[in-house]
């Protein structure tokens, strides 16, 4: 990574004197360990520090964006997860049928399609062909209710639903089918229990662990990894912010966001593990 925050901010016009003055003002002239310890000391007290690339405190830059990220993630999760998990289960109920094949083909295609491609197709179809809505997200979200929020973000949410659906459908199907091949299900089949009841009553409960894990991973992706969608639809979220932090060499901002992303990830993983333990009594009784 060439350059530092002072150099990036001064751009093509940077010269030695301005750089020295600016570095001193930002504290970049101090030794690295001092800068790091200073940041750490403040951070553990809840002070995220001043952004190096901006005249604003880091926390404010984050505050301006986390709402967007949160709303988009929650809407995507609320819509995408139930639909894809149900589709995955249905596919597992009728493996090898034409319905299963179409769904598998569809989800494999979607996995292969990058987000910007899906997004472009959606914009072309809905915005330019059907003339519905905006090609980018315009304006803020203050004072909007849930339906207005949905209308505000519907294209990014739809794009992300396609992205997570492709994985969730396949993983749910695989997890359920995996359980379906175990001896106790064979027993149930021999006893003559209808297939739909076997899947929902007997197989699904045992596959909750892996499914929740996949859901948690997807949620983490929604919070941290949706840069392409944010850039494409022109709204500011946390993923874009961390990339901009890297572009502007603003390591105070990068560290703060890194911490937030780690915490999100850890918390989601803990929830997934707890869910797995709750659904599977065997995990509660270590041998």
């Amino acid at each position: 990574m060439p350059g530092d925050a002072a150099q990036i901010r001064l751009g093509q016009n940077a010269d030695e004197d301005s750089l020295r003055a600016f570095r001193a003002e930002l504290g970049l002239d101090k030794p690295l360990y001092y800068q790091y310890l200073n940041w750490l000391f403040n951070f553990v007290q809840g002070d995220f520090g001043m952004s190096l690339s901006s005249d604003y405190p880091t926390i404010q830059l984050i505050r301006d964006r986390y709402e967007n990220t949160l709303v988009v993630s929650l809407l995507t999760a609320a819509i995408g997860i139930p639909i894809s998990v149900s589709l995955g289960i249905i596919a597992a109920m009728f493996p090898g049928t034409i319905y299963d094949r179409i769904l598998t083909l569809g989800s494999v295609t979607l996995v292969a399609a990058p987000e910007f491609f899906t997004a472009t197709l959606l914009v072309l179809f809905f915005v330019f062909f059907l003339d519905i809505g905006s090609a980018v997200v315009v304006g803020g979200i203050e004072g909007k209710n849930i339906f207005q929020l949905l209308a505000h973000f519907w294209l990014p949410v739809m794009t992300l639903c396609f992205v997570i659906a492709s994985q969730l459908i396949r993983m749910t199907r695989a997890a359920v089918l995996n359980v379906m091949s175990s001896p106790y299900i064979e027993m149930a089949i021999l006893k003559g229990i209808p297939r739909s009841r076997i899947v929902i009553r007997h197989a699904l409960l045992n596959s909750i662990g892996p499914i929740v894990n996949i859901i948690a991973l997807n949620l983490a992706y929604l919070v941290t990894g949706v840069i392409v969608v944010e850039v494409y639809f022109g709204y500011s979220g946390l993923a874009t912010l961390i990339v901009q932090g890297v572009q502007t060499r603003d390591f105070i901002l990068i560290q703060a966001l890194g911490m937030i992303f780690c915490c999100t990830y850890v918390i989601l993983m803990i929830i997934a593990d707890v869910a797995a333990i709750v659904s599977n009594p065997r995990l509660r009784h270590p041998k």
Binding site: N13, E25, S54
Partner: protein
């Protein structure tokens, strides 16, 4: 549909534009009240005007009436890159998005016009002494800040002092480094003493970084300016919203709200513009121009500028200081193809020196260097470089920056030159590649308000930005001497010689000047055409209005 360019239509030998303001006002009032063409012409001819003059004045006045700005409505203007680095501090402005935002909220001492002349803004009068070493600025007394205070000399002095001194982080300091001291004459008058003559000082003070800020303000989480809009919301990298400032001395902004933010992805920006989600966009990709021109109600807003693309030949290292090699490369770059093909006509031919036709001091007599492979081959053979690989480091720092190298590579192959284009990322380019010792690399420069500022920044041997590391005492001396020349003929000749010197002996392969090519919806009126940046030199915010408001 249309393409707006910076051409000024003058009807007849005397036109509406030549009237005095109160005459214009009287005429427009008459037309508003329903005066017919015959009546107006009758009045004017009674006052001694000819038929042609009276006719042209009426035409101009009706056009002006049709173009009388209406208040109301909202405009969303989409820039390109934005991020945490967005700032309201004028001295730290680095990008188009900062300049446009700055013009919403601030004013400068003078205001730059479309033809790059200036007129007073915060200063009511600007008076130089005979050799342009002392400049007096008389300030208007009726200027109110957004926070209700009244502007006086201390504010202007504070603003200027932020650009001076060794430790300043100002991006515009090179333009005012000749200011020796600032003298406060009285509450509404200041005098600047310069080290050396500078007839271009007011032009420099009309550029982006010299927006006047309030005395003592050193935190810029909001903008306390004197401009036509005040801050309603400013979130770096998210959006800026301005609302009219009713007490602005030059008149409140026409729009109820003006919003400015960036859409980094060019395709998304174009889609948003074509779909009507935003009303204006910067940097229409040359490839997309036909699409915009085809679209109903969308116009290309292009301004011919002196901004340019160039390949730097480092004069201090081998092989880029080989005169014959440079000449061979200059002769085999296909300039027309870059302008017509890569830039889709939104540019003009470059001539291996930075002063394009948009500059006042551009020399028309300097012969355009052609594409001449035979001559190029002669120079290439003479250079003795032979089959040795020549490497150009390229990053897409401006539209066509990489394409110019590939163009050169294609043509150079025909004369047997072994040229390689090494593509690197634009991220960090200015710190890691530019002026870091590589023999050949790409560069781009925005237009500066005057030829002298441009030449001083990029070619004077003492400049920190002398990117070609070119050293010529004669050039340096003439560049300083011309600043004090008041004779027009002599000045013209001197600027011609300076441009010819770079063209013949400098280290630049400059194939093209780039227009600023933006898009605006047809109902957006009040466009400016100042050639210094996007959105009409970022001079447009005070004038923008909606015809459908």
């Amino acid at each position: 549909m249309k393409t707006y360019k910076n051409s000024r239509g003058v009807v007849g030998n005397f036109s509406y534009d030549d009237l005095r303001p109160h005459e214009k006002e009287g005429l427009i009032t008459a037309i508003k009240k329903g005066a017919t063409r015959r009546e107006v012409m009758g009045w004017m001819m009674a006052a001694g005007a000819t038929v042609a003059t009276a006719g042209s004045v009426f035409t101009g006045a009706s056009a002006a009436f049709a173009a009388t700005p209406k208040r109301g409505g909202k405009i969303i203007a989409a820039g390109d890159q934005h991020g945490p680095k967005d700032t309201l501090d004028p001295i730290l402005n680095t990008a188009a998005i900062d300049y446009f935002r700055g013009r919403m909220f601030y004013n400068k001492l003078v205001r730059l016009k479309d033809d790059l002349s200036w007129e007073p803004d915060i200063a009511s009068e600007v008076i130089p002494n005979a050799d342009a070493t002392n400049w007096t600025f008389k300030l208007r007394k009726d200027i109110e800040w957004h926070n209700g205070k009244t502007l006086d000399a201390d504010d202007v002095i504070y603003t200027l002092e932020r650009h001076l001194g060794k430790d300043t982080k100002s991006n515009g300091k090179a333009l005012v480094s000749m200011i020796k001291d600032i003298h406060k004459v009285n509450k509404h008058e200041i005098m600047l003493h310069l080290d050396s003559p500078n007839a271009d000082l007011p032009m420099a003070l009309g550029t982006f970084h010299f927006s006047v800020v309030q005395n003592g303000v050193d935190k810029f989480d909001t903008a306390i300016g004197t401009g036509p809009y005040k801050v309603k919301e400013f979130k770096p990298g998210v959006r800026t919203i301005g609302v009219p400032f009713a007490n602005c001395f030059s008149g409140a902004g026409y729009l109820d709200e003006i919003e400015h933010y960036g859409i980094g992805d060019p395709n998304a920006r174009l889609a948003a513009f074509l779909n009507g989600d935003v009303d204006m966009m910067v940097n229409v990709d040359p490839k997309a121009i036909p699409e915009v021109e085809k679209a109903e109600g969308k116009d290309i807003w292009t301004v011919e500028s002196g901004r340019y693309l160039s390949i730097v030949c480092h004069q201090g290292v081998d092989p880029s200081n080989n005169r014959d090699l440079i000449r061979a490369m200059q002769l085999c770059i296909n300039r027309k193809r870059i302008v017509k093909g890569d830039l889709k006509g939104m540019g003009s031919l470059g001539n291996d020196q930075p002063i394009g036709s948009a500059y006042f001091d551009h020399s028309k007599d300097l012969e355009q260097r052609p594409l001449d492979l035979e001559k190029a081959k002669y120079h290439f053979n003479k250079s003795g470089v032979g089959n040795t690989e020549v490497e150009i480091i390229a990053a897409e720092v401006a539209p066509g920056a990489v394409a110019q190298c590939e163009n050169l590579q294609r043509e150079a192959k025909k004369i047997g030159m072994n040229l390689r284009v090494k593509k690197v990322t634009t991220d960090g380019y200015w710190g890691a590649v530019w002026m870091q010792g590589s023999p050949f690399n790409v560069t781009t420069w925005n237009m500066r308000p005057t030829a002298n500022i441009m030449l001083t920044l990029a070619y004077a041997s003492s400049s920190k930005w002398n990117e070609t590391f070119w050293k010529s005492d004669k050039f340096d001396n003439d560049l300083v001497a011309v600043r004090g020349v008041t004779d027009a003929g002599k000045r013209k000749q001197m600027y011609h010689d300076l441009q010819e010197d770079i063209n013949m002996n400098g280290g630049s392969i400059t194939p093209a000047h780039l227009n600023y090519t933006d898009g605006a919806a047809s109902y957006v009126k009040g466009l400016t055409f100042c050639p210094l940046n996007n959105f009409g030199g970022a001079e447009s915010p005070p004038y923008l209005w909606r015809s459908d408001a």
